[in-house]
């Protein structure tokens, strides 16, 4: 690749979201904006080696993409509001300083893009796919691969989402104040879904698919840059950084390693420091939320000098608070496990009782794995073995299954 082609590729990677976010607003259409941006990239590959790299490459891309959008609109007579859109684009093109937008407008455009991709009228799987495609710049093939679906299926999902945005008139806007908290929760949920899919591949043989984790963290950083006063946005970023920092230590030759047994020299300590800084920022707002609580729990695990020094009392308290704020089975099981360490296995088993009696949870693997661990520590090895067998029969993930089998074998040896 020539130097100018390399520069073009780099500038497009760096500026893509900013340019696209503004172009979608100006062109009034996702697909048109994306196609025009692709045209501009191809134009740069021809023009830059010939004429030299422009002084302000981002502005060049912006102007070129907008002109390509005008060309495309002129050719396409089937678009609704075509006249109005063309008039607006041409007006922008004739402005004296067309490419220098106010910083606040650029921030707003990217927020508009985030909130539109994560609009609750779109199916959650479509929100995830569209966010990765548009804000992450992943190709459809890459997204399909990461979510273990066929590429045409993923392509249809993304196309369908874009056409719903256009046809149902999902407005390209940041929600009004009254709707903002609920909508922001939706955005954070999408980012966390992306992160989790990367962190705990549910059906795959591999425990982590790092590119999704990295992508989710990048989106999390973008969100706190755009909305620096949202405590939960910082909380989610902290949570993702703290989890991801331990990725290298989580498996050893394909085997899952529990936190207590992880080789701490494999942790990314710079990233842990970054996660703790983000958590401090979040906590300063004094607006607790589920992501901050989860990040605080993870931070306590990490900060313990060794596993035996873990502050289980505080972790149990945080799980209790988390359960009151957003009750879920996962939290209830983890709360019981933490209480099991803080107050002894019997106290943990006591909390697990009602969950074990719940018919809907009979097939919930983590419940039975935790039950087995507590029974083992309480000295009831026979019952623990039964619970491990039950958990193993419910596990899809090969790495997790190997770990549960190891614990079962360790029981028998004792």
């Amino acid at each position: 690749m020539t130097r100018s082609a390399e520069v073009a590729a780099r500038v497009f990677r760096e500026e893509r979201v900013t340019v696209l976010a503004t172009l979608i607003r100006q062109a009034g259409d996702f697909q048109l904006a994306e196609d025009a941006l692709q045209d501009a990239f191809e134009a740069a590959l021809t023009a830059w080696p010939r004429d030299g790299i422009p002084r302000n490459p981002a502005a060049w891309i912006n102007v070129t993409a907008r002109r390509r959008a005008i060309d495309r609109l002129r050719r396409n007579r089937t678009v609704a509001d075509r006249a109005a859109r063309l008039a607006e684009l041409i007006r922008l093109d004739q402005q004296e300083h067309p490419a220098t937008s106010e910083a606040s407008v650029i921030v707003d455009d990217r927020l508009r893009l985030i909130f539109t991709c994560c609009h609750p009228a779109l199916d959650p799987s479509a929100q995830v796919a569209l966010t990765l495609r548009t804000l992450g710049g992943l190709t459809t093939a890459e997204i399909a691969h990461a979510f273990l679906v066929a590429e045409p299926t993923m392509g249809k999902r993304i196309t369908r989402a874009k056409s719903k945005i256009a046809n149902a008139h999902i407005r390209y806007q940041v929600p009004a104040d009254g709707e903002l908290p609920a909508r922001l929760r939706g955005v954070l949920r999408v980012m966390y879904l992306i992160f989790n899919e990367g962190y705990s591949a549910s059906a795959g043989e591999q425990l982590t698919r790092g590119e999704l984790c990295g992508e989710a963290i990048r989106l999390g950083r973008l969100l706190v840059e755009l909305m620096p006063d949202e405590a939960e946005a910082w909380g989610l970023l902290a949570l993702m950084l703290l989890h991801d920092a331990r990725r290298a230590a989580r498996t050893v030759s394909g085997r899952y390693v529990a936190l207590a047994d992880q080789d701490r020299s494999l942790w990314d300590h710079a990233q842990i420091a970054g996660g703790l800084r983000a958590l401090e920022k979040a906590v300063r707002f004094r607006r607790p939320g589920q992501y901050q609580l989860q990040a605080a729990i993870t931070a306590l695990h990490i900060q313990a000098a060794d596993p035996d020094a873990t502050d289980w009392e505080q972790i149990a308290d945080l799980y209790g608070a988390l359960g009151r704020l957003s009750p879920s089975t996962v939290v209830a099981v983890n709360h019981a496990a933490a209480v099991g360490f803080a107050e002894g296995p019997r106290a943990g088993l006591h909390l697990l009782g009602p969950l074990l009696a719940e018919p809907a949870l009979q097939r919930y693997q983590p419940l039975h794995a935790t039950h087995a661990d507590l029974l083992n520590r309480a000295g009831d090895q026979a019952a623990a073995a039964d619970a491990y067998r039950r958990a193993i029969s419910l596990t899809q993930n090969a790495v997790e299954r190997a770990e549960l089998e190891r614990r079962l074998v360790a029981l028998a040896v004792r």
Binding site: R77, A83, H169, R171, P175
Partner: protein, 121 residues
């Protein structure tokens, strides 16, 4: 302004349930007046029960008629509104205000707009 068809689906209830729903008539009246005053209301209507429905199909140039609704479902189409809204969010906001949203389901569908305007280009 985009136009939306708001379809009100509710479980067909017994007489007591129906009476309860009719008791909400003032609320419906107020909602409808509000939409009209805001200039959003294009049309609206409550439908008779599904046992009054007739479904028509033309196959091989023959008109076939079936006594009953197009599909037998637990929740049936009970009424509709046609609204001009600024966008989907506004349409959804109004959809959530209809009492049907609490005991049934409200479907919001964008109505196709005429495309193309050749005055330019």
């Amino acid at each position: 302004m985009p136009r939306y068809l708001v379809l009100l689906y509710s479980p067909e209830g017994d007489e007591a349930t129906e009476r309860q729903r009719w008791a909400q008539l003032p609320l419906w009246q107020e909602l409808t007046d509000g939409l009209r005053d805001a200039g959003l209301l294009v049309a609206n209507g409550a439908l008779h029960r599904t046992d009054t429905a007739t479904t028509v199909r033309v196959r091989d140039d023959e008109i076939e008629m079936t006594d009953g609704p197009f599909a037998i479902t637990k929740e049936v189409l009970a009424g509709f509104y046609v609204l001009d809204c600024d966008g989907l969010d506004e349409a959804l906001r109004h959809a959530a205000r209809f009492p049907t949203a609490r005991y049934g389901s409200v479907e919001v569908r964008p109505i196709m707009e005429p495309t193309g305007d050749d005055s330019l280009g």
